[in-house]
Symmetry: C2
Subunit: 333 residues, 2 copies
């Protein structure tokens, strides 16, 4: 196995977030389920945007947030995802490249607009997401360069991508290329509703070792095994994955593998402003630790630290140097 | 004079701000003068964007920020300015309407893109602006509806607009329509470099009473009278305007008229995050006080309060209800 060009390569939906503060009444009136992610069409996107308050735009996308965080820790990073060559596509492309992430996927010149996600943040810091996938869902196997995947220590995939046919094929092509080169594949289950739609397929991906490292939160884990018994679900998860990471918000996380089970606490935060990106940034720190060969506990601490940073401000991209933060906590030299 | 439909109508450049944190070295390397506003062309815009870090997008524009703040205090508000019908134009239009400001100016269907302003914020909170005017500079006298102006108690204009020929004509048309209907006209001098380019014309606008209320900061005032003597400049200013308001950052402001000169202190803030919009939001509070018939001192206090809110976070639009803030301070019922 030759030495890697990239530590982590992430494949996911290329999305610009459109964030606004709101209240529970608005979510109720719009029929939104607080804390969830819903896929919406263009008409619904227009209706939500017309009804919501003044917003700010920040680049987002789950795996894109993760890779930006990993790069911020110091990982050599690349991203694969689809924008259109419109203004929001230029915003997404600029921001990810400005974060020192290689991003070469060809932008679509026609078809739907660059994806956007209307994120409504309630006073408790919880975010409710409505995603118009637009150009992002047209990610195609041809957008996957096997040589680039082979040159990446870990290829990281988001479960959200497991929906459009072409994107699924791209996902499988990338996982095959990674394993053919002796590299690792990581997956986040992304969302409990997402798990509910693709439970069998996600379990297949895990049990057939299409993926090695799997990230889930509590809701996703219990949805995966259709149980309310967290410990039971965790025991099954441990059998199904090489490495499993379950994030539990303020309760910290649990990392499982064949040989070990370890819990790591969350970092205390003064005030939760916006939980958008908490899971994404946890994955940033954890993956950075993995590629540096750190023990699982230290990797999880880096994840917890990055998650704590991102929930203390609006938006899912770090606003403080994660590397500097980790150095201040004695987690990095 | 019939009763007004709008308390304040603002005319200005319709701009989306693209904000990034930076440092003094970057400003130096880019040849930018810290704290200033430079007009840039498309090529320079692309070069700056390519070099600057990850950014966030927030609707901006000086007079647009002011009118959003005035609406937030409770003013019936309208805005006139030019976007293109592109994605950033949709962002600007959404945000100003979502702030309950009437905005009916027809978007351009061809020509340059919606205006954007690359705002680089240094660790001291100072902002350095680079504005690509794009569609905004094509505001035309035909975009001014004299009936709408006549139905507005105060028409507020930004000095930045005093540059393209058509926009100047639009400006004069609006001022004439306002005065013909017995309404007031307010102007902000906008920027010291702007004053330097149009010193004679601005003095003419004041001395010929094309404008009644004039806002300036210290740098703009001393540039206007080509002196370093603040008190001397203030004395001349008092002769040249009906009402003059000079903002002095943390030193507060001075309001002058034929009959009175009064200083009002600034509101203390914990930490200055980003000074973008400080002057704009001062004008929001002051104009709201004027249209409510408040004494100058109270109007200036509302201005100071709004300025204090906006400099404590990124972006030039309020993130907290200014009306609620003012009520908490006992300035509004």
């Amino acid at each position: 196995m030759t030495s890697a060009t990239y530590d982590v390569l992430a494949i996911g939906n290329a999305i610009v977030d459109i964030l606004a503060h709101t209240n529970d009444e608005f979510l109720g009136a719009q029929g939104m389920s607080k804390g969830s992610m819903s896929l919406i069409d263009e008409a619904r996107a227009a209706a939500i945007y017309g009804a919501m308050g003044p917003a700010i735009e920040i680049s987002g996308g789950s795996a894109a947030n993760t890779i930006v965080g990993a790069a911020d820790f110091g990982a050599r990073a690349a991203f694969v995802g689809k924008v259109k060559n419109d203004q929001l596509g230029a915003v997404f492309s600029h921001d990810i490249r400005a974060a020192k992430v290689a991003f070469e996927t060809r932008a679509a010149s026609d078809g739907p607009a660059t994806a956007c996600c209307y994120i409504l943040v309630t006073p408790d810091g919880e975010r409710t997401m409505n995603t118009y996938l637009g150009a992002a869902q047209n990610l195609h196997p041809d957008d996957i360069d096997p040589a680039q995947i082979a040159a990446s220590s870990v290829t990281y995939l988001e479960g959200y991508l497991w929906d459009p046919k072409d994107a699924k094929d791209a996902f499988v092509k990338a996982a095959s290329a990674a394993h053919a080169a002796g590299r690792s594949v990581a997956l986040t289950l992304s969302d409990a509703f997402c798990v509910d739609r693709y439970r069998g397929e996600f379990l297949d991906l895990m049990r057939k070792r299409t993926v090695d490292i799997v990230f889930a939160n509590e809701a996703e884990l219990t949805s995966l095994y259709e149980t309310k018994d967290f410990d039971g679900a965790l025991a099954q998860f441990r059998k199904d994955v090489v490495t499993g990471v379950v994030t539990r918000s303020e309760k910290g996380c649990v990392v499982v593998s064949k040989d070990e089970v370890g819990a790591v606490p969350s970092f205390p935060v003064e005030k939760v402003v916006d939980t958008t990106g908490a899971g994404d940034l946890f994955a940033s720190g954890f993956l950075f630790g993995v590629v540096r060969g750190f023990p699982m506990k230290k990797s999880a601490q880096l994840g917890a630290l990055a998650a704590a940073e991102v929930i203390q401000h609006l938006g899912a991209r770090p606003q403080t140097s994660l590397r500097t933060l980790a150095q201040a906590k004695g987690l990095l030299d």
